[in-house]
Subunit: 346 residues, 2 copies
DNA sequence: GGGCGGAACGTAAACGTTTTCATCGCGGCT
DNA sequence: AGCCGCGATGAAAACGTTTACGTTCCGCCC
C-alpha cells in the first residue's frame, strides 16, 4: 500500500507495466500521448522506481564502493571529495565503507558490496593479494590506491612516497643546510609510511652521510605527532629539523614544540607530507610535500569508470604513480620569516 | 558464468537453494553436517550473495543515505565521520550524495535512493517541505539536519545557532569589553547563517546598544572570509572584533589580517563558529563556538536507526537542538578561562 | 482485396534471493 | 499397527523491474 510500484502506475494509467517502463525510461515504442499520460500518473502517484529491483535485472547499480581504512583527517576527506566530484560528474553514487578495524571487518564489508556496486576503489593497508582474491567478486572492476600490489590484477594508483620524501630531505639538507634531521614515521605496517621512510633513509645517506639517523614511530595522527614532539623535547637533544611522514603528525609536533617554547623554524624546522588544506593555515605555514589528494581520488574514479565502460577485458591493469612536489612555506626556514605570499586562499 | 549464484552452490552441494540460504544465513532447519558442507562449497566457489536480489525480497538494504549540499571543508567531513562511526557500530552502510548544485540535482539524487537505502539523513538548505514531499518516498524514514522545518513530519536535529552566536557576541562585548563587533555572515538563503545573524543582532542590541552594526556577506568558505578581511582592511576603519559565522571564514579572515599586518587579537579580535579540528591549530588559536559535529552526525544516525527499528509509526517526530558552548582560545584576547555553556533548548 | 510491414502495446520470462508451504522419513506413543 | 508430531528438505511463489517475444491493428502496395 504505502509504497507505489510500477504496477500501480500501470493500472492507474490503463496500460501494461512494460509500457510504463518504456515511457519512463524513454525507450521508444510508445505514443507521445500515452507517454504523457503515463508520466502524469507517475507524477501524481509519486512513483519512484525501486533501485534494487531495477539493478537486479539491469546488472547496473550506478554506484561505486570505496573501502577506506578510516575517515579521520583531511587526507581521507579530501580523497573522498575527489572521488565524489568525479563520480557526480559521471552520474555515479558513492557507497563508502570505512570499516577496517580488523581484517574480518574489511572482508565482511567487501562481500556485502556484491550486487550493490558496479566497481570498487580500495585503499587498504591490509589488503594483500590473497585477501582481495578471497573477498572480491570475480568480475568486479576494482582500482587499488596506495597498494604494494603492482598492478598484476588490478590497476593501482600510488603516490610517489619515496620521491617526495627524498626530495624533502634533500631540501632540508642541501637547500637549508641541516644535517641532524629526525623522522617522525608512520605505522610500520603501512605501505606509504614504509616508502616514505625508505626515501628518508636513502636521502640521508646521500645528502647527509654520517649524520645521526633518528626515527620516532607515529601513527599518522595529530596526537602521535604531538607525542613525538614531546619525546624530542624530553630527550634534551633537539634535532635541527623534523620531517614528519604526514601533515597531521607535523602539526601535532608543531604544537608540542610551540608549547615547549621552541622557535620554529629558528631552532627546529618542521615539515610534513600530503599538503592537506590545513597546512597553509597553521603557524608557521607548513612546508610539505604536496600530494594532489583530490586529483588522486578523481583519477582513481576515472580509471574505474574506464574499466566500467570497457565491456571487454581488453584493458590491461597497470600501475601509475602520482608525482608530488615539495611546497616551501615558512616552517622549514628556507624563506624569510613571516612572508607568506604563496598563501592563496582557495 | 563468471558470477557464482546461490544456484551454483546448491547444485555443487547437492541440495536446494533454500537449504543454501538457510545454512548461510544461520536460520535453523538444516543439519550441522549439511550446513558444514554447504559452507565449504560456498567458500570454495567464493560465493557472495547478491545484495540487490536479497534486499529486493528482504526489504532491507542495511544502508542509509546521506544527502549533503557539499563535501568541502571539515564541517562536512566531520559530520560524515560521525554518521559513519555510528553506522558502522550498527552494521549499516553509508551512501553519500553531495549532489546539490541545483534543486533538480538534489531531487534526482533523492529519487534514485528509493530501494537502495533504508532511511535518509538530509542536510540541505534548499530542501523545503514541498521539495521533500515530492521527492521522498512516502514511507522512507528520514532525519533532517539543520532545517527550518520544525519536526512536523520528520525528526529534525538543529544546532543552537542563535544561542551560540548570542553567547559569542556576549563574550566579545561583556567579557572582552568590545563594542565595535563586525559580523562576517553566511549565505543569505542558508538557515544556519540566518540564525547566527539573528543571534548576533539580538546580542548586539542587548550588550552593545548603539554600537555600529557591520555585516559582511560571505559564503562559508575560506576564500570568502579572506575577501571579507581584505574588505575590512580596505575600508580603513577596522572593527575591534570580527565574528565570523563559521570557522573557515574566520581562518580566511585571520590570514587576510595577518597579511595586512594587523595584530590579532591585539588590534582586532577574531572568532568563529563550529570548532572544526583546524581551529585549535591556527595561530592565534581560534576562539569559537564549539559544535560537537561528530556527535551531531552520530545522533542523527541514531535517531534514524531508532526510526528504522520502530516498525510502527508510533514514534512522534520532534525537533532537537544541539546545544553548543563557546571555547575560548587566543584569538579573542581574553584569558582562556574555559567554557561557557549556552542553555540547551529543548 | 489480400498480404505485408511496422508501430504500439501486452505477456511472460528473467534477475538472485528469501520464505512459505508441502513433502518425506522417522521415532515414540497408545 | 496405526497415528501423530517433528525436523530436515525441496518446490515454488514472491519482491519490482526490464526486455525478448507475441499479438493486434493499421495503412499501403500489388
Amino acid at each position: 500500500m504505502t509504497t507505489v510500484t510500477i504496477k500501480d502506475v500501470a493500472r492507474e494509467a490503463g496500460v501494461s507495466v512494460a509500457s510504463v517502463s518504456r515511457a519512463l525510461n524513454g525507450t521508444g515504442g510508445v505514443t507521445a500521448e500515452t507517454e504523457k499520460r503515463i508520466r502524469e500518473v507517475a507524477a501524481r502517484l509519486r512513483y519512484m522506481p525501486h533501485g534494487a529491483a531495477r539493478s537486479l535485472i539491469t546488472r547496473r547499480t550506478h554506484t561505486i564502493g570505496a573501502l577506506l581504512p578510516d575517515m579521520y583527517g583531511e587526507f581521507f576527506s579530501e580523497l573522498i571529495r575527489g572521488i565524489d566530484l568525479a563520480a557526480r560528474a559521471r552520474g555515479l553514487h558513492l557507497l563508502v565503507s570505512s570499516a577496517h578495524d580488523g581484517v574480518d571487518d574489511g572482508a565482511a564489508a567487501l562481500r556485502t558490496m556484491r550486487g550493490r556496486v558496479d566497481g570498487m576503489i580500495i585503499l587498504s593497508p591490509r589488503a594483500d593479494a590473497s585477501f582481495l582474491h578471497a573477498n572480491l567478486p570475480e568480475s568486479l572492476p576494482t582500482v587499488l590506491l596506495n597498494s604494494p600490489l603492482r598492478g598484476r590484477r588490478y590497476p593501482v594508483l600510488n603516490i610517489d612516497n619515496y620521491g617526495g620524501a627524498h626530495a624533502m630531505v634533500r631540501h632540508l639538507a642541501v637547500t637549508c643546510g641541516y644535517r641532524d634531521i629526525a623522522l617522525v614515521a608512520g605505522p610500520q605496517d603501512n605501505f606509504d609510511a614504509q616508502q616514505r621512510e625508505d626515501g628518508y633513509r636513502a636521502a640521508m645517506a646521500e645528502f647527509a652521510p654520517g649524520a645521526p639517523l633518528r626515527v620516532i614511530r607515529g601513527e599518522f595522527t595529530e596526537e602521535s605527532g604531538y607525542r613525538a614532539g614531546r619525546e624530542l623535547l624530553a630527550s634534551g637533544r633537539l634535532p635541527r629539523a623534523v620531517f614528519a611522514a604526514n601533515d597531521m603528525m607535523a602539526i601535532g609536533c608543531l604544537l608540542a614544540l610551540r608549547e615547549g617554547g621552541v622557535d620554529v623554524p629558528g631552532e627546529v624546522a618542521v615539515t610534513g607530507f600530503d599538503d592537506i588544506p590545513i597546512a597553509r593555515y597553521v603557524t608557521p605555514a607548513l612546508t610539505t610535500v604536496q600530494v594532489r589528494i583530490v586529483d588522486l581520488g578523481r583519477s582513481a574514479l576515472e580509471r574505474l569508470a574506464a574499466l566500467l565502460d570497457a565491456t571487454d577485458q581488453a584493458t590491461t591493469p597497470d600501475a601509475d604513480i602520482l608525482g608530488c612536489e615539495i611546497v616551501v612555506r615558512d616552517s622549514c626556514g628556507a624563506r624569510p620569516h613571516g612572508k607568506t605570499s604563496t598563501n592563496k586562499a582557495r
